[in-house]
Symmetry: C2
Subunit: 204 residues, 2 copies
DNA sequence: TTATTAATGTACCGTTCGTTACATAAATAC
DNA sequence: GTATTTATGTAACGAACGGTACATTAATAA
């Protein structure tokens, strides 16, 4: 037999699915931000009583951290995927175009949790802010490294400053999240992307 | 005599200066955001007891509203001024370059209150969100109208979509605020501005 | 069966939130 | 002077915050 008997753990079994509940917490944090999401609202959305949340995920900060990991692996997984496009220009196009679609997806809350999450906040959110800053710097760095690779393959002119180019693409992406929250449509976001990429550096 | 006797009002005189205290509240809201700024912190910074704040400015939401007006008239007055530059390109250059300097001014809190304020928030902040959205749409509209004027004077090609161009400039500006909060330096911001404007539409 | 383990639901903890009642103090009006 | 007006400082309000103690329930182990 190839069926592996999964032995049940010792005590009372969980009444909720770990990942499902995390997904529901994600929706709340995404809509409200870290501070704007209250444990009461999270509890209600997750369908779990508070002590079970703390037992399973830790405190609010740790729950948010786990939510961020799920967010990266799910809704914004397209970012990492875009890096695999064959050319630097296609990477940028894919990244921004997919973002425009993502940000105007009617089933998502507006804006990207990582791009524009917890920019201003009260005292005691320093760790959350740092974590989000690290994520932001992370995808900007991924862009830069991808552009460095392109440069080494003559896919980008040697004159290009990859740090600046990556920061520019990240800046447009972050601005697009603000635009999405402020009411921009998919068409408008795509038009901005086209404008933003119309200055792409090319070999002569 | 040309000196006009300013007659003192009836009751006990205020122990604080209205605009000075508003300036101190501005610093707190700018640093913390609307929700992150507590009345306790505001009270302490303004040097006024709470009932006096409520009497002079109304509740927290109204205080924030008055702070926004002061913010527009002071720290970000350069935005309206930039519109008066002689050409559309100079308008965009001035707007973004001044923003880069503003956002990296060591004496300011990071980020622009209006560009990226209260993007995510808990229940009960709808009015503040709407007000900030209106301000954001306001300066984007000012850019568009300035570009329309430029177009009518052949300062911009007739093929230009001014709505898109204005939205693109606003998007870069908003992204720059995120970058500033995430640690970008003045030099980096200025490099992004240069990159962002390298595709400026010109008559052939 | 009995012991052990772990998750559950209830009910509450202390703190902080925005806001306000109220008595007092300091000015003008008469 | 006395009355009136307005701002002040103290002190507290009810509600919401993040977090937890504790008894109970439901599973496995022996």
């Amino acid at each position: 037999m190839s069926t592996t008997q999964t032995k049940r753990p010792r005590g009372r079994p969980s009444a909720f699915d770990y990942e499902d509940a995390l997904e529901k917490a994600l929706k709340i944090f995404w809509l409200r931000g870290y501070e704007g999401a209250s444990m009461a609202e999270l509890t209600k959305a997750m369908g779990i009583n508070r002590p079970s949340i703390y037992a399973a995920y830790g405190n609010k900060e740790e729950l948010f951290s786990k939510v961020l990991r799920r967010y990266m692996a799910g809704p914004v997984a397209y970012v990492a995927e875009a890096m695999h496009e064959p050319t630097a220009k296609q990477v940028a196009e894919k990244f921004l175009t997919k973002s425009a679609e993502f940000l105007s997806n009617q089933y998502n809350p507006r804006g990207c949790m990582i791009a524009i999450g917890t920019l201003f906040s009260g005292e005691g959110c320093e760790q959350v802010q740092q974590e989000l800053t690290a994520y932001r710097q992370g995808y900007e760095k991924a862009l830069r490294e991808r552009f460095d690779l392109a440069k080494s393959k003559n896919d980008l002119p040697q004159s290009v400053n990859t740090t600046t180019l990556a920061k520019y693409i990240a800046t447009v992406h972050q601005g697009m999240s603000v635009q999405a929250i402020s009411g921009a449509s998919r068409e408008e976001l795509l038009a901005v992307v086209e404008q933003a990429l119309s200055n792409w550096p090319v070999n002569n």
